[in-house]
Structure formats: C-alpha cells, structure tokens
Subunit: 333 residues, 6 copies
C-alpha cells in the first residue's frame, strides 16, 4: 500500500505542546523510590510519531525551551522520524511538566499538572512557519483543543494556524481533547466551536459530547447525528474507550467499530494513537469503516506499550486489522 | 469532619514490632537479581501510619536497635506523621527481618522469618513510657497477637501495657493477627483469650476463628454470635478477604460489608490498613456499619500500593466510601 | 520418594545449545531503556536444570565459546546443580543470542534470532564425551529437534550421540521442539523422523503434529493414535498449552491431563519444564498418568517465574500435584 | 555533651524554600536514561536536617503545595527529626523544581532552575506562625539570602520573620547563599545588607564577599576584617571550599580552619551542612575555633553522601573533629 | 560563527558500521547482574553525531538490518540531528554486537567482538546513494579504516565511495582506526595506503604509526614529518591520548596541542569525538592550530560522558577552547 | 602450567561460614533507596572461589540453612566451580547476615553484623564429612580464625577438622582473619595459637600481629622473625594493605613484595583473594617469592571487582604477575 503522497512535502502537520511527565515505577506512589520515570508526552507529537511510524511524512510544530529538557523532547520526537526542524526555540520560558501516579482500581491515577508559563503558552502567531501553509507543503493540518486551552496566546496562534491551513487548502483535523484542569467545559465548547465548524475531521470522546458540545443523548448514534447536524462538513469520530468507536460521515452514514481487546500496560496516549491510526488510513485512501478499524487497532496496540508514545509497527497494526478472529468488527447501520 | 479529639494528646497508641522485609523484584526468586527491595513492615506501625494519614494523632511504641537499620525504621514511620519519640532504643539487640518471594498462582508466596532475638523480643514492661497511660494521653490503645507471640518478655510487656491502658480508661483495640510460624493456634488462643476478654474492639480473620478461638461454624454471622457470647463487651470485627468483613456490636447486632473490588498490587499490610480504617471511622464517631465500610475501603486502596505501608490519602478513601456504584454495601440483618 | 538411581552416575544426559537472551524490562520495546535483561536460555539446559532441581543427577553436554559470555552460561547452569564438566570449549566461535520483546495481547512477543555460526553449530561428533555413553553412565539421553536443526554439523553430532546412547542401552528422550525460524516443517519432519522412530519418549506440541509429523487430525486422542501407529515403541506425550497435555503409552492406552491454572509471568521455558517434570516422574517410577500430572504441574509453576529457567522447588511441585482442589485431573479413557 | 537547651521548645527555627531536584544517574546527560533521581533540596531544610541529626530540636518554616510532591518534601524532612508541623499548606501554587546534570571536569555541572511561582514565592508575612516568635520558643532563627531573593513577597516574609525573631530575643543566623540566577550581586547586596547588620552569625562564601558585599581583598583575614568593621555585632564565618573556612568574632579575633580532605560524592548541600555543624557547636557552647572545626567536619562528611541532604551521624562528625591525624587544624593568629 | 555552508546540502557525509554494545554496569563483570547496558556504537556515526551537535548538517551512510535493533540504531543516531534517510535497509543480515566489561587498573577492559556477517559486512558498492556524490551534496566525505577491514565487500564499497567522493570534488577525511581484532597491522597498512594517499585529512593514533604505517620514530614531530613525506597532499593529525595531539599541514608546518585534563567517565568514542571537533573547526574555516585545540576540547568533554556517543554541547566545547587557564596550549615550532 | 595434582580429588578443602551481605548502591546510606544489593560473602568460600577460578579443584565445607537464602549461597559458590556437595544442610538455623554502608573518606564504611545463631555457629564436629580427611582426598586444608570465633561449637568443629586433616597428612593453611566484633584480640590469640603452631602456612595482616600475636615490632621483617621463632614449621605471610606483603619461610628467609597499584572498586574480599593467589602458586610448585607476587596480583585484581567474590581470570592474574612494568617487585634480603 502506498501511504505517502509524493506531490506534497508532508502528509500531516501537527501543532501542539509537548511536556515532560514524571511517574514513579509501576504502581508506586511518589516518594516511595528515589527514581522516577521521565516521559515525553504531548497529544499532537504523539499523533505525529504514530503517523511517522505508520509510514507517513510528518512535521511537528511547537515551541520549546532551548535547554537540555527541551532539546531532549525534540530528539525523542525526531528519533521516530518526525521532522522537528520547524520547532521554534526560546531561551525565556520553561518546559511544562506533569506528575502521574499510576493507580490500580479502586485507586485512580493521580495527575498533577505543572504546565503554566510554558514555552507553548507564550507562542505567538507570527512564530508560525509560514512556508508550511501552502498546498504543496502538506495535505492535513492537525491540532487539538489543548492548544486552544493552554493560554490566550497559544489559542490565537492555533487559530491563526488553522486560518492559514484552511487558506492553503489543507484539510483540517481537530481532536477536541478536553482537559478539565485547563478550562471549563463551557469555555472549551465556546472556543472550539468555530474550529470544529471548519474541520474536515473531528475526534472527540463520547463522554465530552454532552458537557462540551451540549449534545442531549449518550447513545453513540444519537450523538453522532446531533453533531452531524451542527458540523455537516466534517467526518466526526467518537471514541468510546473499551466500547470502541463510532463515526458519521458527510453523507450522514453512521459507522461503528468495537474495540480490539487489549491488555492495558499504559492507557496514556491511546487517544492520540487512535487519531494517528485514523489519519493514516484516511491518507491511504481507506473508507470510513476501514479507517475506524485502523484507528481502534492502533489504539489497542498502543495500550500495550509503556509510556505515552505510540511505539507501534505498521506491520503489527495491519496484521491486527486483518485478523478476522478479533472481536472488533465494523458495522454499518 | 473532625477526626481529632483535642482533649487528648493522641487519638491512638499502638505497640508492636516492626521489621525489615527483603523481597526480590516482581515475581523473581531470591538470587535471580543482585538487588532486593527493602521494606519497613510491622502490623502496629502499619496501622499507626494508616491512622496518621487519615488525619489522626498517633504514637507508636516499640523497641528498636540503635543502628542504621533501626533508625531507618523509625524515620520511615515518622515520615508519615506518626510520633516515634516514645520508642525505646537499645544497643544490644538485632532488628528482626524476613524474606518474602512473591508467588503467582499456583506458586504461593514464600516467607522466611528471621526475627528471633529482636529488640522487641527483649522489651521489658518497665520500658513502657508510663506517662502515656493516662486518660489525657490517648483515647485508644491498640496492639496485636503478634506482640504476645514474639517472646515471653514481649508478652509480659504487652500485657502490662494493656493493664496500664485499661487502668487509665483508654479503650482497648486488639487485632488477633495469628502467625502460625510464631506459635500454635492453641497457644495463641490461650494467651490472647484474657486480652480479648478485656477488649473494646477485636479484629480477627474468619479463618482463625475456629483454630484459635474454637468457634464451631464457618458462617460469619454464626462466628460473630459465638464470639459475642464469649466477649460481650467488645465490638468484634471479622475479616473475610475478598468476601469483605462482618461485625457484631455490643447489642449483638450483626453487620456485613462486602469487599470493594481491587487490583491486588501487594496484599501485605491489608489487614493493618483495615484496622486503621475502622479505628479512624470509630474515632470520628461513625456507626458500626459505616466503620466497616471505611475499613473495607481503606484495605481496598492499600491492596493497590506496593510495600506493606498503607500510603493512603484520606480523600481517596472517603471518595471510595461514598461511591454508590461500588459493590460494597452495608447490610444490617 | 527416591529420585536417584545409585547404580548410574547420571540419571539424565542432555545435549543442546544454550544462548543468551536479551529482553527489555516488562513490556517495553527495545530502545525504550538503556538497560536490557540478559537471560541464559536453552531447551536442553532448561530441562537439565529442572531435573537437577527436582533432585536428579544430570549432565549437560554442549559446546561453548571460551569467553566471559560462554563461561557465564556454564556458571549459571552449574549453579542449579547440573554437571557442566563435559562441556566442550572453543576459542573460535560465537555464543548464539536472541532478542525478545514481550508483547501483551493484541501485540505479540517479537523474537529476533541471532544464532548463526554459534559454537554448537560447529560441534563435531568426535567432540562428544565417549565415556558417558555406557550403561553405567546414565539412564536417559535427552535432546531436542533444535539440536538437529541448528546446522548440518550439529545434526550429525546429535545423531551420533543418539546412536551412542542407544548402543549403550540408554533410553532415548526426544523433544520435537520445532522452530520455524530454523527450518521448514517438512525438513524438520524428515530429519526428526528416524530419531523419533528410535525414541522411548517423545514430546511434541499438538500444533506441530500436523505440519511436522503429518497427522491428519487435531483431536489429541486421534493425534496420539496416529503417532502411536508410526512410533509404537515410544511413549508419546502431546502438549496442548492451556488445555493441558495427553499421552499414549506403548500399549496404546491414551491419557489426558488438564492444565493447572497459572498466572503467566513468563511463558518461555514452559515446555522444557514440562519435559523435566515428566522425566522426573518417569525416573522415579511413576505411571504415565502420574507423570503427565507432574509434567503439567512443573510447567504451571515455571510459568510464574521470570526468565527461561525452571527455578522450581520439588516440594512446591509435589504439593501442586497432590492438590485435589486443582482443576488438573488425570483421565484414563 | 548536652546539645539541647530544655528551657526552649526548639534550638533553631529555619525558614526557606525546598524544591525537588531531578538528576540523571551518575554522569549521564538528561535523556540518556528513562529514569531520573528525585531529590529533596532546600538550603534551610538541609541545615535543619543536619541540626536534627546532630541532636538538636529544630522546626522548619516554609510554604508547601498540598499535593503528593509537597507532602513528600514534608515527609522527607520530617523523617530526619525536623518538626514540620508549622509549614503552611496551599492548594494554589506549584512546587519549585530544578534539573541538575552532574559534570566531571572539564564539563561543568548544568543546572536548570524551574522555580518561578512556587508556594514560597507567594508566602505572606501573615502566614508566619506567630507563636514561635517568643523567647521560650527558640534560641536561634536561621534563614538565607535565597529566601530574600525568590520574590518580593518572600522577601517581605523573611524580613518580617527576622523582625519578629529579633523582637523575641532570638539570635539571628544568616547564610548569604548568593544565587546569580535569582538576582544580581548588587541587588542581593542591597537587600541583605540590613539583615546582616542585625545578625549574630553570618555565613558567606569568600567568592561572594567582593561582588555582593563589596570587600576589596581576596585574603580571608582581610575579608573578615573588612566585614567585621561593617557588622561588628556578628560573628562572621567565611567558607573557602577546599581551603577550609575562616571566622572573625565580636572581638575581632580571626580564626582559620583548613578543610578535612574528603572524596566528593556530591557537592550539593555542603554549605548547608557547614552551617548546621557550626550552629550545633555554637548551641553546645563551643568556642569559635571549635565551631569552625565542627563546621568543616560536618561539611566533609556531607560531601561523601549522595543527594542534597546531610545524612550525617553525630558520632561520625565528633570522631572526625577529634581525629588529630586529620589535616584540619585550628590556627589562631 | 557560521558553521554551515549553505551552498551544499550536507557539510559532511560519513560511511561506516554501527553496532550494539552490551556492558554490565560500572565495573561489574558479565553475569554479576541480570541487566546490561545497551549502547549504540560506531566510529563514523559517532563522528556524525558530534558534528551534528556542533551545528553541522551531516548524513550517515550505512547498511542496517530492518528489525527492532537496526531501527533503534537509526533512531538513536537520528535523534541527535544526523540525517539517516540514506541508510540502506536489509532483511537478511544481522546487527553486529560487542560486549565490553569495564576494567579498572590493573584489570584491563575486556572486549568480545561479535560482528561477523553484519549488514555492513555485506554492503555492496551499488547500494551507495549515488545522488550524494556530487559537489552540491557535501563538502567532506569521511570514513575510517574499520570500514575497510570489516569484509572484502565493505572494503570495495568504501573504496568505491571514496572514488565517487573524490570524483565529485568532495574532500576526503580518513580516520585510520586500526583494530587488531579485525586484521593484522600489515594488512591494514596495505589496504589503507591508497586511501591515505588520496586523503585531504588523515587521523591516526601515534601508537599505530609504526606498526601500520611503518614509521621509524615514536617522536610526534618525527612521525608527522615521515608521514608528510609519504602523503604530502594531506593534513595529518596524530592523536597521543593523555598527551594531546599533533598535526602537520600541507606546508610541512608542525603543530602540537596538549590534552585538556579530564575525568574519564568513559573512554570509548573519544577518538571519534576528536575527529568531529577537528572537522567542525576545519569546516568553520579555522586554522590547523585552532582545529587541533577544538579537537582536543571535544574529546576531553566526551571522556566525561557515559556511553560511546559524543553528547556534547557546542557552547561547552567553545568555552573550553577559550579557557586560557586550561593547560592545553597550541605550540608552533 | 599444571595447576592440578591428579593424584588427589581436591587440591584444597576450605571450611567456614558464608553470609549474605546487604549494601545500598554506591555511597548511599541505608534507607536512601528502596533497593539494596545482596552479596554472598564468606572468607573461606571466597578463597575457594578464587582457587577454582585459578584452575584448582576445591571443595567448600560449611553448614547452611535449607531455605532459599541458604540454597542461593550454595548455588553462587558452586557456579564458580567449587564443589558444594559436602555442605551440611539444616532446617533449624538462620543464615547469618550483615549490612554494609560504603563510606568514602573521611566517612568510614559502616558494618552491622547480624550473624548470631547462624547455621555454622551450630555446626558440630560429627557433621564433618569424614571421607574427605584422607591423603587421597586433598592436599591442603584451609580455614580461618573466623570459624574459631563464631561460637564454641564452630570452634570445636574447626579444631576437629584441623586434627583430622593433620592426621590425614594434609597441609594446614590458616588465615588469622581477626574480627574485633566477634571476640577480643587476646581471646583470638589464645584460641588460634595452637592452630598456628600446627600450620604449614599462616596468613595474617600486620596490624593484627601485635594485638593478637603479641609481637613487639611493627616492622615487617621484625614481625616475621618474631613469628618465625614461635611457629618455625610454618611459612608465615604478612599482608600490609597498600604496602604489599611479606613472608618468612621455614629457613627463616624473609621476602617482600610491594603491592600492585589498583583502583579500589571494592575492598571486601581482598585478603581472601590474596590467600587464593598464594595457595594457587604454592600448589603449582612456585617458590615463596613468586607466590607472594601471585598473591598480591590476585588481590589487586580483586580490588577492581564489585562484591566480595574474587571473580578473577587466571590469564589476567598471570599477565599482571608477568608485567615487568608494574611496581610490585620481589626483594629477597
């Protein structure tokens, strides 16, 4: 299968913040050991890495602090084949971090964000690499609601990037990625609404549909139809965790895909891997039902990998997609 | 909720031995790696730590060897907010240790005790801090059958402490904690009988009721009733592992609480966390049914934490207690 | 029970290659961490270790590179009580290695073999310790299809050893151990056929019966009967993974044993442990049904132990065999 | 020797910020491994821990974020016997952090501070525990220039604490602790001048005397005399790294102490250990020459201990002080 | 300073093999621990990484096995900014490895090579990326004697690359890098002679000058003059370990540079870092004396970094070069 | 060189206790990390391992607890080629342990012994394997003063073993190995005197000569002469740490050997390695001067190896012995 379009430089551009995550080993609590794991973690760089490992040409746009921590983030993202040469470097700001203690039921995982005043929170629209916003540069521009929620400056930058991408005829892919620690559901809904109205592809977890988008139902088919009425020009993909995912296309056709069963080694990054899988299939010309299946398979394999990054192999995803014995099956109603 | 009674110095005094546990990582066997985990482990200090983390003022009484190992034990216990200033220090004796290889079914965990001649085994009644045995010093005195079983000297010391606590009007909380490597069931039963006869609160696993206490049934309600007839002045709490717990109060009313489902990261210390949860609820004025629920919730969260110590947060326990969706429900028959 | 026959020097001789396995920790992918686990791994040395830990006198024959890696392999095998004094040492060849990334479903474990041109692949028949091939030296000679598949030289050596063992009146135990990375099923079948025709004891996984041995059924009883017709002088033992094992004896009687349920910590080495358990029971004079039960119990305990080696205790295996509550039950039809 | 004055509750109060330090293992660079060490690090808590381990009663005043990170800092400090019950807790602010890559010559160690907007930077004067500022509460109040440099709010709080301590008749101990990443030398000099003018005990490295305090010489005796003329009511102690330390007392007598030779395992925290050693000797009634020797010995032992904390034993320090064979010798000119 | 020439795509192309190194931690012997460090190690990729981190555009040419190990090597090299897009991938061959036990005097470090039949050993001339061998593609082509010594096939490939590079007008940089485990000194001398005769820049350790190049003296000035007579069109750089380095330029002028004193954390990779430092200075237009100083400074900083890779920062190297207090001084005789 | 005498079964028998040592990593203090290293450590098993690795046939006699800890000790000793089949196993006693915190100057290493009531402390003379005490079984019997000092029972066992060995015509090698934590110098001197009077070979550190043996001088030549007068039938070897060693033979000739300079990675086990080196040379027929040089070389290499065990290679020791450039030179006065 051909996964690359040679008429453009990049298949996908992504824009977003990447942080350092600190986690104690296994199910330890912070302070139990003198060592912690240090992970690179960012929604849009995760998706970029997933796409690169699936065979696509991807550039990740961001702003990073020019110190050992920032350079390590760039090195890690680059090592998986993502082009980081367009990242903006600053000497002034900090690298955002967060702490995560893994919980096992009934103890929930605990996250402590420490991301205020990060380099991306101070990213300005004029720092965007304007040469990438033309039709030969990329087919798809992808970002998420996090970039809109970090700060008013990052929101302006994201909105400007979206405007430029749209102007250049690039397709717009948007992952709602609502974070309650960043802003309220209503603020997120208000800010993201105009972006989703312009999007060609929208990803959102079904649990956020009601609080952020104001849908009235919790049934996936109903949710999809309500969202389709609001944003008829987008394919809308709704993730449902262990229940799989659903989508509605421009024609209003509803698709469902059950999840592939997976041993969950690390849940973080699953949604970003899902988006990578969907976008990869989409870029390869697959239909919505197939793309949903690719997305669920990519997420399932991610769940088995420690850390936030989707360290997947295309062959393994393809094998899972093709495996008839797997529960996951695409249903078109 | 007010968890502290300001009219007393401590909510609870506990007395007991704390050892060092050595365990290989994960499911390794001893000798597979050149490093082993080193844990602080002691029933009564575990309960003290649980209580301190739940917001209570607790002092832990013990005897420790004045070397790096003994001081590390004290530092670890103190770090969680337990007062260790009444610990008796000795230059003469050793710190008890044990080795534990974690098994996975069908391979059982293997424990090798190496606790003979420890500092607590040589603790004498006159080493007890007499100033703590008055009504203003503490509301509850808590110890366990282990302290009675370690040596005749530690037994005399525990019995003297119980006598002093009772004389001072402190409530007596006793955890049977039968250890077959320390003594026979009949010896334990004989030694603990007079203590349980004086106790206000008794904890025991249902599996020990028959061999140690000589009950005739294995049904929790029956067991509780039999024990109530013998020790009518105590609230008796029976733990049932994955099946939850039961209790009978002074009025002979029987209570049952199913367990909260939990991923078991480390089972050790679960019973001590249970006692801490019960005592915390009791000290806060909760009724028996509520206290059982607090005890089961505290134990459930402990199971998810590596090591013996109940590194719990009060807010997490409270949230679990309040969670209607959890299976655990108090039933009064 | 007496497990040793004092009239012979060794209960069992095994011959085969042992490699070094590199694995990242837990479910990590290669490259995620800068450290990897280093394991000793070889089918016949695994079986030898299992037998030694079950109380038997065992010698392991092989060829090792005389460097730190080869000597480490010998030291590790010797540490469990296996006699390695008959190993042939060479300055010329390399130690075979392989890399293994543990997968969690749906991500499968990935193995990268790097075993070409190893010391055993260059082992010559005349390097066999001829003094061991007499009736007083050993009761059983055990090897596996891997030794036949590594190279033509190792195959000639294995065939010569089998010839010598048979000539000396030693019983021949053969584990098919088909490895698709080494050779095709038909090549393996062709090469192993004459060995199995001479064997007293044959172990094979049921999944290999059809491709390698050309059986027509997938039903264990049918498979056993077909194989019995071909090799009537052998007891044939068929392993079925989580479904247990089956056997057919010289009289054509069929036996079945369900598996003991086990938490799988590491699957590698399970088949070798199975053979060790079977051989141990056989050497101790147990009947086929009992030997099957010992084999399944030994494998079940191995699954709970990290690494390839069966670091089992005889007492634990015996206790599991004797445990009536376990699902595993021997059925004679 | 009696190290505690029973007429006061605490021998020393210290006030300051404590952060988390992240460091890769050994001489690794950030990103080489997926794990980093996590240390508790704060000048005034280090000194408090040193004093507690030397046998004194110490309380540490600070402001901490009420999350797992802040609570871990408090637990660690408390574990060494420091009273942390007067710490102010906040739900609003972050815990300051820094990254440190250890360098070996000629590669220097690299520090990346990330401490802006920390809990202490927002500490207000009215959050000081007023009950501690009376003559029965403590003999000495100790803080450092860092507390004055973090933010204007922390400076006001430190100045108010100094005012209260002085008003209560407590002795004032001040460690200049100039940090060029926090403020300029001239700003530090201006802000610290009025504090040093009120101090009874001043610690400063000789390298900071000229830029911060404006001395004209680099000879320790000259430096001491210049500083004595400015702050005649203080004993002034000047540290000289590997060359030892010097002091001048109220009478203008100059003292010198060479350093004890030490293998440097970790340099961080050496100055704080020095202050702890000096204060301990001072509190025990030792003369200036002896106190200098105690200070150098405490610092020398700290250098051999990984991490920032002075995990010293009083007996080891005392033995080193008493060791005639050591180079360090007090010279009074 | 401008380090990049914008008229060419790459400043430097390097060609060579990169392996995986396994080492136990610290000074452990193999087998003491169950974990080993896994390092990426290759002379020409090391030099490429050093150049990239010093600010140059570099591509690394090689042949890698298309499995997790080969891809990890590429990812690691790419993460430091080296272009790996021209690497040739194969499904057929293995990744070369070696084991290294670090020794401390008088125990020497032990290396066990296991590199036969690696992917590079089978690299064919026609696999070279011909598009890179033109004047616009690169200014310098760099390889080493190792590439000539691995196999006859890799030698032919290296010679063909050199021929192409020379034909395209690229400068030829050659590091002798004699390895006695690969071939004899005379074989190496014979094979490398024609390459050195065409080189513009030659690096060699002084200890190899006599056995490989047949010089008669051990004095650096003499050695340089002898080599200059043989290869007058090259600048010849001779490394002398702790004694520094020397060079002779096209005009026959001799230069000397003493070493910068450094704490040796890991010696491996020092020579490759030296070459990177020299080439960087050369590319930036520096004179021979300055380039020697840059080379020694880069090597000194590398010695302080664990692993084979020169994880250097340009600013640190520049600061060391500029540091007058450092012993290293350039002398022109 | 032939190192084995084929007329006897073993070259050397050693008898002694082996313990488990717990140490934190590097220079950490106990409690700083949750993991500790676990080492096998015993003077006589160390010497046995050294001899086996130098090519000799050795059996180690001891008494071990039959649990995972005891079996691990035996496995570790056996892995290096020592015969452990004569070890006596007990179900009743504990494995002795000790804790060791490594210090760096001026902080000394701290040892906490916890060895009372160990399996060897209860070893009885009748548990000795009588079949080994004949002239065909072994040439040398080796034990140390520790075995005499552990308990009166172990002393009786050691004395009986010495009596048996002497009766069988075996040579007696005795290492004084004075441990002040076990007994006083005078008690040790009194107990060891009769053993040394019968010894053929005596090892002792020069620092113990005065307190334990009552010599009057501290000059090595003088010490040797004084000891020679007392025990004229023994070759007496005196170790001097960094200053090397000295010896006096039966003829009263004095020998001196300076130490080989070594980077000290771990000092523990150096003396035991020294004895192994000396005995190995002696068994190979070397003269006293050569044996001293072998002993010093073996110890020097041991110092560079982590842990207590002399994980040496014969070739490395031989190379060091033969290295003329090394400082160590034998002087015969």
């Amino acid at each position: 299968m051909e996964v690359i379009d040679s008429r453009v430089t990049y298949d996908v551009l992504t824009l977003g913040e990447t942080m350092v995550r600190f986690s104690p080993a296994g199910y330890e609590r912070l302070g139990q050991s003198r060592t912690v794991e240090m992970h690179v973690a960012g929604s849009e760089s995760n998706t970029a890495i997933g796409l690169a490992r699936l065979g696509h040409r991807v550039a990740w746009l961001s702003r990073l602090t020019n110190n050992s921590i920032g350079r390590w983030i760039a090195a890690e993202v680059a090592s998986h084949g993502v082009d980081v040469s367009h990242v903006v470097w600053t000497d002034d700001d900090r690298v955002g971090t967060y702490y995560m203690e893994r919980g096992a039921p009934p103890r929930s995982s605990q996250v402590i964000y420490d991301r205020a005043e990060s380099a991306v929170s101070h990213m300005r629209p004029e720092e965007l690499p304007s040469e990438l916003f033309c039709s030969q540069a990329a087919r798809v521009f992808h970002t998420s609601g996090i970039t809109l929620g970090i700060s008013s400056q990052s929101r302006q930058t994201a909105l400007r990037a979206i405007e430029l991408a749209r102007g250049a005829g690039q397709l717009l892919s948007f992952d709602l990625n609502y974070r309650s620690r960043l802003w309220t559901a209503s603020a997120a809904g208000e800010a993201c609404e105009p972006v989703m109205a312009q999007s060609d592809l929208i990803f959102l977890p079904i649990r956020d549909a009601r609080p952020v988008c104001g849908t009235s139902s919790s049934d996936p088919a109903e949710v999809c139809r309500e969202l389709h009425l609001r944003w008829p020009r987008a394919t809308i993909v709704v993730t449902r965790g262990n229940l799989g995912a659903a989508a509605i296309d421009l024609a209003g056709t509803f698709f469902e895909q059950s999840a592939f069963s997976a041993v969950e080694v690390e849940r973080l990054g699953g949604g970003d891997a899902f988006s990578a899988g969907y976008l990869s299939a989409f870029l390869s010309g697959k239909k919505t039902a197939d793309a949903l299946r690719w997305a669920c398979a990519t997420a399932a394999i991610k769940y088995t990998i420690p850390g936030d990054l989707p360290l997947i192999d295309r062959s393994a995803v393809a094998a899972l997609v093709a495996d008839e014995s797997q529960l996951g099956s695409a249903i078109q109603r």
